[in-house]
Assembly symmetry: C2
Homo-oligomer: 478 residues x 2
């Protein structure tokens, strides 16, 4: 019973201490564990299964649009990392260095990949010769390492899992098209599968990726009003190609540089799922990403026929859904709490009286809505409830995001929102980096993105009063 108790102990309330609530959920839902390596997390079965589902669905979407998977080395020689100036400046301070192999010191240090642009450029310079070899649209699923000082499960860790796509194209237009295409794949995936609405836009020069000409981002709003950068897509132009000599002969036999992109989504997105949908009972998983969609919990399971009926229901539902049956000897109340803590989308309660009446009770995890359904059409009923729940979760997250998105027309409104409210602030900006940095220094709010959907809120910059160039989403961010 000690083990049962641990799982269903009350967790910290979200409103009381959101950070502690997050830590509690991650731990009690058994998503991760701490390891003996500072800042590296262990993904336990419940956490890794979410990542597997994310992989499966994203990978399917990638392959539909011509992405091919590869695997590149874990290590990058120091000399290779240094070939692109901006890139090495951005990453060198936060990489891990291998200096010894076996019993011997290495002639050249190797960094453990923080990202693999340099390796892909190196490969592309070897295998791209003619315009017939283009485009190359490669991706890899792997882990990367960044030497972070403070870490939190999923949100920031020294090692994390991700996918990184790296492409090479004949023209600048095609590279830009692919950059935007992949951003849209991420945004659609997040909305349709994770039930998280995204703001799509471009990062300012200050916030863009080291070595990129343009970085595009999708930004989500967490329950506590803080923003989370959830996926990025970069257009490198021909900068990396020039640094690494990635050239091809075009149809007129002229030597040209390729144009490159890269794009990534990581286990960080699991942090978003937790912080957008979770509640004081634990995790709430959208049906389309939940590793277990249905938990059957028998009531009075020692009564004759109850477990048999529960198993029968499980067998029937398993053809369409992922289903578990909790026939352990814990009492139903414990089982309900465990199912809720783990975020399993629906539970089915089935006891002697239900069986007699030819029915079962379905309870939604998100709003605890109960539906009594006939056993005759339970599969259809579960399907409908899961679809409804998926849609409602996106609607709820969107309503929360919209209710916490504010317009600031001047600096007084801007600081007032930061003091008395939470969430995104839409405001006009002059485009000047010094002004952007001043806003951050004074308030802690950063530019999240220059959204594709622009609005004209004012003629002047919200901070400095100079002519406005663009509308920006500001926010405090993870």
């Amino acid at each position: 019973m000690a083990n049962e108790k641990k799982l269903v102990e009350a967790i910290t309330s979200m409103d009381e201490d959101f950070a502690q609530w997050y830590t509690d959920v991650v731990k009690k839902a058994e998503l991760t564990d701490y390891s003996s390596v500072r800042g590296c997390m262990i993904l336990r079965p419940a956490g890794y299964a979410i990542w597997e589902n994310i992989q499966k669905e994203l990978d399917r979407r990638f392959k539909e649009i011509g992405v091919e998977n590869v695997y590149m080395p874990l290590f990058i020689p120091e000399s290779l990392l240094q070939k692109e100036k901006d890139h090495v400046e951005g990453f060198a301070p936060e990489v891990a260095w291998v200096t010894q192999g076996g019993l011997d010191p290495l002639p050249e240090r190797l960094c453990v990949r923080p990202t693999s642009e340099t390796l892909f450029c190196d490969l592309y310079s070897n295998i791209i010769h003619s315009y017939r070899d283009l485009p190359k649209v490669y991706n890899q699923w792997c882990s990367v390492v960044r030497w972070e000082k403070t870490t939190r499960p999923f949100l920031r860790s020294m090692e994390f899992l991700w996918q990184e796509g790296h492409t090479a194209h004949a023209t600048a237009e095609e590279a830009e098209e692919r950059t935007i295409q992949m951003l849209n794949v991420y945004a659609d995936f997040c909305e349709q599968v994770l039930a998280i609405p995204m703001i799509k836009g471009r990062k300012t020069d200050k916030e863009k990726f080291a070595g990129a000409e343009a970085t595009y981002t999708i930004e989500a709003l967490m329950h506590d009003g803080k923003a989370l950068q959830s996926g990025t897509s970069h257009n490198f132009g021909d900068g990396f190609a020039k640094a690494f000599g990635v050239q091809y002969t075009d149809a007129n036999n002229k030597l040209q540089y390729v144009h490159q992109t890269s794009w990534g989504m990581s286990t960080r997105i699991i942090g978003a799922i937790i912080m957008v949908h979770g509640d004081d009972s634990g995790l709430v998983l959208p049906p389309r990403i939940a590793p277990t969609q249905v938990m059957i919990i028998p009531i009075n399971q020692k009564k004759e026929g109850v477990l048999e009926k529960a198993q029968e229901i499980k067998a029937a539902l398993s053809e369409k859904f992922t289903v578990k049956l909790d026939d352990s000897n814990k009492n139903p109340g414990w089982k309900f709490s465990e199912q809720e803590m783990r975020g399993i989308p629906v539970r089915i309660e089935i006891g002697p009286k239900d069986i007699e009446a030819g029915q079962a009770v379905i309870v939604r995890r998100d709003n605890r809505e109960k539906t009594v359904v006939s056993l005759d059409n339970i599969t259809e009923a579960v399907g409908e409830i899961l679809e409804k729940m998926q849609a409602d979760m996106l609607a709820k997250a969107t309503a929360h995001r919209d209710a916490n998105t504010h317009e600031a027309h001047n600096w007084e409104e801007f600081t007032d929102i930061l003091t008395r409210k939470q969430g995104f602030i839409k405001a006009m900006w002059c485009g000047d980096r010094a002004c952007e940095e001043a806003i951050k220094d004074e308030t802690g709010a950063t530019t999240r993105c220059m959204p594709f959907e622009q609005e004209h809120l004012s003629d002047v910059c919200v901070h400095c009063g100079k002519p406005a160039k663009t509308m920006v989403y500001f926010g405090k961010a993870y």
Copy 2:
């Protein structure tokens, strides 16, 4: 045309120089590429797609028998690696060491995982408390690093991809059962999916895994008569549990040590696929593992209606198989050679005369057998041909293995076989490690395994003449 030519240039003949043939196939079929990091390989799309299929099929088989996937850190602190004496002695000489993180030297060196027993023990000591927490049957898909001096694509590289399963059980019996169960999963997978027959057996103490009580192995015979260890499963008893303090309270509230196992299969198995099935035209992939199963090659494709019909066939076949259509402007001969080099199981030739006759020509990759089939039932015909090819490939590999398995009843026969033949040698052995080492020193042949299927070939050891304990498969190995 330069690119076409490169792919279909003649490769070295297997019989002339098997090692060079292997290197040629790996390169020309575009499975791997060399990287800027000595000894690390790049898995290109054609190579990685084979690994993805291996993963998908093995993972499905794992999950059917209760395996749960997790992800553990890439790094192991030196102090953790040192907790189990035999284990650290086995691995410390061949690991990569991270000594610097960001701009600072580390207080303790971290090794890049060569295998993760120590990390799993550390986790298990934290999450296993009671017999109710057992068994734990975890697995991870990841890359590992071993600082090898000489490397070859797939067969031996500094970094390789694999899965490593790590389990903890209440009893020794259950651990042994799981060890054998997983060995059988590997053997069945190799036979049924990869068409490679396996000898199952136990490793001698000299050849067992560092820290294991018993190591079981599956051994395959390559086309050149050398053996390849293709998967291993280890029973650790309670040795690691004692070193790491992995204990649980049993039903009587008594503290007990768990019993552990680990088991792994790696990208090395792709080397086996190449060396068992390949021929002088390149790769030959068994239909059940081939990323592309059917290549449609139009003949006279500029003639009206040919490409349309080819596309029609592709659409129909795609419902059951993975199909590609080569409609590039290369001539059919080039396309045939490319399809053969890449090992695509069947090609379909379709030209104006075929269309007129309502038929197509199907050519098997393994034996070039041609079948003319009616377009009306082409899907069934392709299915039957692929099934037949899969079965024939296993039969052929088994016949080759059996024809190259010899019995040695005395030392003269043993050395004679090694001089004049190739393959496995079955012989009796005394069980003495010194004798085993002498055989290796004198001949280069090692004990591959003590097979589960024992035969009594003689009363005495083939080398020293002392009483025989067991029959052993000997062989020269990759």
